[in-house]
């Protein structure tokens, strides 16, 4: 399932592995050769990942193997206990939520969850929540506020589910409510875009005091494919749409939409999820430390200021 531009890297990695096995088996010293190839690999990774197109980043953002909400709940946090249900209609497997500990403090986690297999993806509706998923998220926000725990939200969705069932149960209403609820939190809120940040379905849990994004994630008002289908009238123009939408981590940092880009290890988070999660843990710890001295009122004001300033207008 490797992406096209990853092929040279993967082949070089395989060569290094073979050499190493050969050296080990035969008792031959090939450390010079191996060292050379490893430096070459590093250079190749740097070059490849340094000049990725926006569309290639989108593909990376969707690559299987990237850390998901559940991975992070279990590896970045300790003592994770998953909580279920919206107390009104259903438990939505596309949203995962619960309590956990992070460096000694209790936190509340909520995030989109895609599957790792086709079967799990169907079960989790490919990370596209129904209204009950957002109601579960709001319940977590209530919990965080009630106990004064920070809220960490993890975003990875192509978008909220666009189906009849979701419309019938007020998809738009619940997204609006969730945005509002999160804006009102009296506790530190950090949102992280892990992979895909698709539109309102992402923003619904994205109203953080800080918004972080993984280096190869994307975040926008629409997916490149849908944008292309509408504006170019041809979904195949997704590559061009991705360029136009300026949806990469670096773009968003420049636009002021995100506050911090979490670096991914060479080759991307899908190839080295543990190291990516270490980087994320470091970033979360630093950001939380800055937010925790603030009072509930200061946190609300900080969030208001953050989002009130968004946009590009000229006043005459």
């Amino acid at each position: 399932m490797a992406l096209e531009f990853e092929q040279p890297i993967i082949e070089l990695e395989a060569r290094i592995r073979e050499l190493r096995e050969y050296a080990d088996a035969g008792g031959v010293d090939l450390s010079d050769e191996i060292g050379l190839l490893e430096r070459k690999l590093e250079q190749l990774q740097r070059e490849t990942f340094g000049r990725l197109s926006r569309w290639q980043r989108v593909q990376l953002a969707r690559a299987p193997g990237r850390p998901t909400t559940l991975d992070i709940a279990q590896h970045v946090f300790e003592d994770f206990i998953e909580l279920h249900g919206d107390r009104a209609f259903a438990d939505d497997p596309a949203v995962v939520a619960g309590l956990a500990r992070f460096r000694g403090r209790s936190v509340v986690i909520v995030g989109h969850q895609k599957g790792k297999t086709t079967k799990e993806n169907i079960h989790r509706n490919f990370g596209m929540p129904h209204p009950e998923g957002y109601r579960k998220a709001m319940r977590m926000m209530d919990l965080a506020d009630r106990f004064g725990f920070p809220l960490i939200s993890l975003i990875d969705t192509p978008g909220a589910y666009p189906g009849v069932s979701a419309e019938e149960r007020g998809q738009a209403w619940v997204i609006a409510q969730s945005i509002q609820r999160m804006g009102r939190l009296g506790v530190p809120a950090i949102a992280v875009i892990l992979g895909e940040g698709g539109s309102g379905g992402a923003l619904a849990i994205g109203v953080g005091n800080r918004v972080l994004i993984m280096e190869n994630a994307w975040y926008s008002v629409i997916s490149p494919e849908s944008c292309a289908a509408i504006l170019w009238r041809d979904a195949a123009q997704a590559e061009q749409a991705a360029e136009a939408l300026k949806l990469t981590a670096r773009d968003l940092r420049e636009l002021g939409v995100v506050d911090r880009v979490v670096p991914e290890p060479g080759g991307g988070a899908h190839r080295h999820p543990e190291r990516a999660m270490e980087e994320l843990a470091r970033a979360l710890a630093e950001e939380l430390a800055e937010l925790e001295p603030l009072s509930p009122e200061e946190l609300r004001k900080d969030r208001y200021r953050r989002f009130r300033g968004m946009g590009a207008v000229r006043v005459e």
Partner: protein
């Protein structure tokens, strides 16, 4: 996001004014209606009650007490932060819509009274880029809410929008949070906010400020939802249920307070504002 019809609008201004335009065909009952008659009946088909889209200035005339309206929008202009280009550049599109409507972006409104209640009234302009919400719409709504809160006014938004404006990408997405959060200024002052949903209201507009009002009205037969019908059809690969995503369907599903025919809209709005803002005093500044 039902933005798909965004750029296929017929021109409403600047077109040649030849004879056939004196008559309009009702898309619902197919009756031929004399245009002047339609305008006299508030753009509601006299035969079947179909609600045609209403121009934002006519909307303000319909809702504001006579002589009470002062425009407050218009000073905020769009930029092109992404230098966005598809088959046409965003800059060109903006220029064209500005020329056609005579306004900088897809929103129009100001201060007024409604049934005597001091109000800040905004109407989204579907004729401008499908009423899509970019930075300007978001900014005017946030300013409107803040001003209403400062001046003790009720806040009313007439929504008509295909959703967020793609050409501002993530920045237009952020307007959903910005507008939503600005509404809290009203409630801090115990001031009411009424949302009026008209045909169509979808995408990021429904999923932010439009859905969060104290009282939500909709005009009959308006298309209202999150995803557009075409996107949904592609998703489920089935035909959509009869009346799906129309005002009456939304009412049944608990999303709206009332479906109000246009002829009664002013009276109902005045009534509900009078109840929600009983201490409304005439504005002095503004």
């Amino acid at each position: 996001m039902a933005l798909d019809r965004l750029f296929r609008r017929r021109r409403t201004r600047g077109g040649g004014r030849d004879v056939p335009e004196l008559w309009l065909k009702c898309p619902s009952c197919e009756a031929q209606i004399y245009k002047k008659d339609l305008e006299a009946s508030l753009m509601v088909c006299p035969e079947c009650g179909h609600h045609f889209r209403l121009d934002v200035e006519a909307r303000v005339r319909l809702l504001a007490d006579e002589g009470s309206f002062t425009v407050t929008t218009g000073s905020v202009h769009p930029e092109d932060p992404l230098e966005f280009t598809d088959i046409e550049s965003y800059a060109e599109r903006l220029a064209r819509y500005q020329q056609q409507t005579g306004r900088p972006d897809a929103i129009y409104g100001g201060t007024c009274t409604v049934g005597g209640v001091p109000t800040l009234l905004l109407a989204m302009d579907y004729a401008f880029a499908g009423g899509s919400m970019g930075s300007v719409v978001g900014e005017e709504i946030a300013r409107g809410a803040e001003r209403a809160a400062a001046e003790g006014r009720a806040f009313v938004i007439v929504a008509a929008s295909g959703g967020a404006r793609m050409q501002e990408a993530a920045l237009s997405l952020m307007q959903m949070a910005k507008t939503t959060m600005a509404l809290d200024r009203l409630w801090a002052e115990r001031l009411p906010y009424v949302s009026i949903l008209t045909d169509p209201t979808t995408g990021g507009v429904t999923a932010s400020f439009a859905a969060l009002a104290d009282v939500i009205f909709a005009e009959p037969g308006a298309l209202i939802g999150f995803a557009g019908p075409r996107v949904i059809k592609q998703t489920i690969r089935q035909d959509l249920p009869e009346g799906f995503q129309r005002s009456e369907f939304l009412l049944q599903h608990g999303m709206l307070d009332r479906v109000v025919p246009r002829a009664e809209l002013k009276a109902e709005l005045a009534r509900v504002l009078g109840l929600l803002h009983p201490e409304g005093v005439p504005p002095d500044g503004a």
